[in-house]
Structures are given as C-alpha cells and as structure tokens.
Amino acid sequence: MTTMQRAHLLWICLALASLAGCAPSTHIVYVTLPSTNGIAALRMRDASGTFTELVGTPFLVGSAPTAIALGPSGRFAYVVNRNEDDISLFKINGTTGQLTEVPPRTQTGLGAATLTMNAAGSLLFVANQGSNSISVYSVNSGDGTLKEIPSSPFLLLSGTNPAALALSSSGNFLYALSGNLNAVFIFSVDSQGNLQQIPVGSPFFVGIAPLALAMTAGNFLYVTNSNDNTVSGLKADPTAGTLSPVPGSPFATATTPTALVVHPKGGFLYVTNSGTANVSAYQIDSKLGGLTPLTSSPFAGAGSGPTSAIIDVNGNFLLICDHTGKTVTEYIINQQTGALSTNVVKASVPSQPVAMVIAK
C-alpha cells in the first residue's frame, strides 16, 4: 500500500468515526387532545428548545382523553378517557417515543377527570367526577397493567366532584380537590392503596372555585382559586396529613389562575392566569412555605386558555398548554432567579390540548 493510499484510508476512518457523534439531550412531551381523541407527541431538544413532531402523532386513544401520567420507569403511559370511563395503557418505545396501546382498557368510575401515581409507580389513583369517587389500582411493574384494589372505588361526599389529586411526598396522604365545595379532602393511604378520610381537618376549605393543586417535596400544598385570583398556601403535616395555612396565605395572582406547577428543585412556583394570559412566578420560602413574587412577574405569553403546566425533570423549561390557541408554549427558566425567558417558543398541536406530561 502506497503512502497516498494509507492517507486516503486514514481519512476514511476518521470520517467514519466522526459520524458516530454524541446523542443530544431531548425530552418527549405527550399532550392529550380530547376533541380529536388523540395524544400528540413532541420531541423537545434541550439545546435549542425546539420541538419536532414524532412520526405517527397524534396517537389515537379513547374518547376524550383528559389526563395522562407516566410510570416512573418511563416505559408506560396511562391516559384517562373521560367519555368512556376507562384508562388506556400505552407502551412507550424508548428510542422513538412512539406509543402503542396495550388493550384491554381498564374501567374507572363515571366521568374520570384526572389521575396521579405514587413515586414508586405501584399505585394509580383516579378521580371520578361523575360518581363522586376515587378509584385505586395496583400497577404491575413488569407489564404496566392495572388491577383495581378490592375496596375501590372510595366514595366521597355527595357533590364533591373531585377535580384534582396530589400525593404527599411520602405517599401516605392523598389530597383531593373539590371545585364544587371549595375544599380539599384528605385521605390516608396504606401500603395496599386503601383510602381513609382523616377524622379531623378534612375537608379543608380554600378559596372560591379552586381548579388545581400542587405539592412540594417539603409538604407545602398550593391551590389556585380561580374566582378569588389567589393561590392558597398550605402546610401539610407529614404525620397527620392535616393542613394549615402558611403565613401570608392566600397570595395574590393575576386574573383567573388556572394551573400551577412547582419547580423540581422546590424553590419556585409558577401559576398560569387565563384572564391575563400570563404566568405568575413566586419564590417559595423553604421553611414556612410563603410565596414572594419574582421581580419580573408576571411573565407574558401563556395564551388565553392555559390548562396545564409542567416542568422538565432538570428544571430548565416550563411548558404550558394553551387550550384556546392550540399550542404548547415553552419558557426557559433561569435556575438561579426562577425568572422566565421573554422569548417563548410555541409548538402547534392538532386540536385543543388539555393535559400533558414530559418524559425524562
């Protein structure tokens, strides 16, 4: 082999090696589309913050998917189909992010509205607005299938119509929000998933027309009161589960607060305001749970119909569903100050989005 031929061969080897490259950091966002019975899937690239639709999106699901949750393994997704009172189980392709439904669907109560899962991924809780109950399922860690526990569903006070659920950081207490009764119902949760309303302090009354709640790792619970234009801040007792207002609660928001989300590192709270199409941002007092608005809050660009807010696991991006604008809006979060970027990125979805989750 001549010197020139060796040089050619070396060039080829180096070029081939350069093709290997490093995998960029990305996350997949799954968005429920109730009016078209689908789940939109978008890949978000961390470096650029841009979105790419996955091949096959939107993935067909049952009638009126209104809520979605991911198992902690990242292999399974659970979607509530409100109009047919059941849950769809999906397997998630780890490479492509595509969803494949695994039938049969699991029955819920009437008018299932939302769901939540414990941190271990062993229990799934579903709020049934129509039947005033909470259904509890054990989750098979191998194949993700659901099995309703024997004592489920757990009936609630007539007229409760539970709209939102949150678990304490220990998983020992479940908080169910009633928009009808302006209250939070508190249940102890045993290892099998059985619920028992705590004897004292439940229900706990909050502001008018509460819509959503969120729990921090430090057991502070925040509730958006859409008619009061406030956020209730509550301290949850880790042993008894009881709630008590934090100093300064309730805290003012902009007009008609809807959704809210806590930063995964716990220091900030973000509240979407549908009346003013913006996001109120607060610093959370880690000891007392009080909220202090950030200097530049509120931040514009949320759209007039924000229904859901989530943050990626690294705390870099805040995503908001805009039901009216049929978009997913992305803000970059300043990890030091909690401030949101002024240039937002919007991704269109095929129809009005309601809920979303972001995979790791």
């Binding site: 020139m4 040089a7 050619h8 060039w11 080829i12 180096l14 070029a15 081939l16 350069s18 093709l19 490259g21 995998a23 960029p24 990305t26 899937a41 978008l42 890949r43 790419t52 639709e53 996955l54 091949v55 096959g56 999106t57 392709n93 490479t95 492509t96 992010g97 595509q98 494949t100």
Partner: protein
C-alpha cells in the same frame, strides 16, 4: 461543513496517472451503512442502519454513463429503501477507477418507522467512489460514499451512506490510442 465532505478530500488528492480503460457495462453489489437523519422524524438522534446496495451501470463513453440503484437499509425502528436513476462520470487513474454519480432523474425513497407508519418521497443522491481491479471480470469497490437527501413525512432528511463490495464488469471501452492487455471479449 457537512461531514460527508470529509470523504471528498482524499479523492481530490488522488494521483494523476494516465487515463486507462473502463468497462462498458457493470453491476455493483455490496453492503452499505446509512447514517440516517431521523431527527426530523422525532427521533432523538441519527439512526445507524445496515443493508445493501445494488447498482447496474452502462457506460456510454469513456467518461460518462447511466446508472441505476436499488438500496435498502434496516434498523430496529426504521427501514429505508431507495430506487434511483441517474448518471455517472468516470475518472480512471492508473489501475484505479474513480467515479462521481448523481441520481435524481427518478428517485424514490420509501421508509417505514416504528409501528409501521410509512412515507414515500423523491430523493436526491450524489456520491463518489473508487474501484480497484481484481481480475478482468471483477473489481473491488473499495468505497462509495453518498449524500442522500429525502423529503419523507413532509420533512427534510440529509443522510450519508457508505458502501463497499464487488463489481462485475464486461466489455471494455478503450481509451483512444490505448489497448488494455488481456481484456477478454465477452
């Protein structure tokens, strides 16, 4: 700068010996590796696919010919097939035959992804390669590097494909004033 250009550089540095004979007709068959641009399809990164390339060619003159190509590359989540037609320019140098081809006159890419979703689009392929003679009938295609542009699922993909294999050839186009020794008549 696109990475595929790295493959062009060694060709530009090729030796400049006197031009020699080229085959009148040839068929290339070999293995191929495709660095497929699957990010526009929602994948997190490029997909590395393996498969085959099959390419018959008919050289009209000592410098120019027509070429067709069928290729298929496969992976666990995406499969791609190309059917293309175009032309090639030949650059014989010593005992090596360099070529440049462009395939776009009628090019089709077919892909299926994951759960079976499929798309068909036009494709444009441009590439270079080099053949080394093994015998009067066979040559070794040491490399063929192609840039593959497709427009699947209404998005653009820019991919790189590398192939190697065997070329079967027959008849010869002699360079003017040159007779290649030992080239048999078919």
């Amino acid at each position: 700068m696109r990475r595929w250009l790295l493959f062009v550089i060694p060709l530009l540095l090729g030796s400049l010996a006197a031009a020699q004979d080229v085959p009148r007709a040839q068929v290339f068959g070999g293995i191929s590796y495709l660095h497929f641009d699957s990010e526009p399809l929602g994948f997190s990164n490029y997909s590395n696919l393996g498969g085959y390339t099959f390419s018959p060619a008919f050289n009209i003159t000592h410098r120019f010919g027509a070429v067709a190509e069928i290729s298929g590359q496969y992976g666990p989540h995406v499969n791609l097939r190309d059917l293309t037609f175009g032309g090639q320019a030949l650059f014989p140098r010593g005992n090596k035959l360099f070529f440049v081809h462009g395939l776009f006159f009628d090019a089709r890419s077919f892909v299926s992804v994951g759960t079976g979703a499929g798309s068909t689009s036009r494709a444009i392929i441009g590439g270079v390669g080099m053949d080394l003679p093994l015998s009067p009938r066979f040559s070794l295609r040491v490399f063929q590097v192609d840039y593959v542009r497709s427009m699947l699922f209404n998005t653009d993909q820019n991919s790189v494909r590398v192939s190697a294999g065997l070329v079967y050839k027959w008849k010869t186009i002699h360079h003017r004033g040159h007779k290649a020794p030992g080239t048999p008549a078919p």
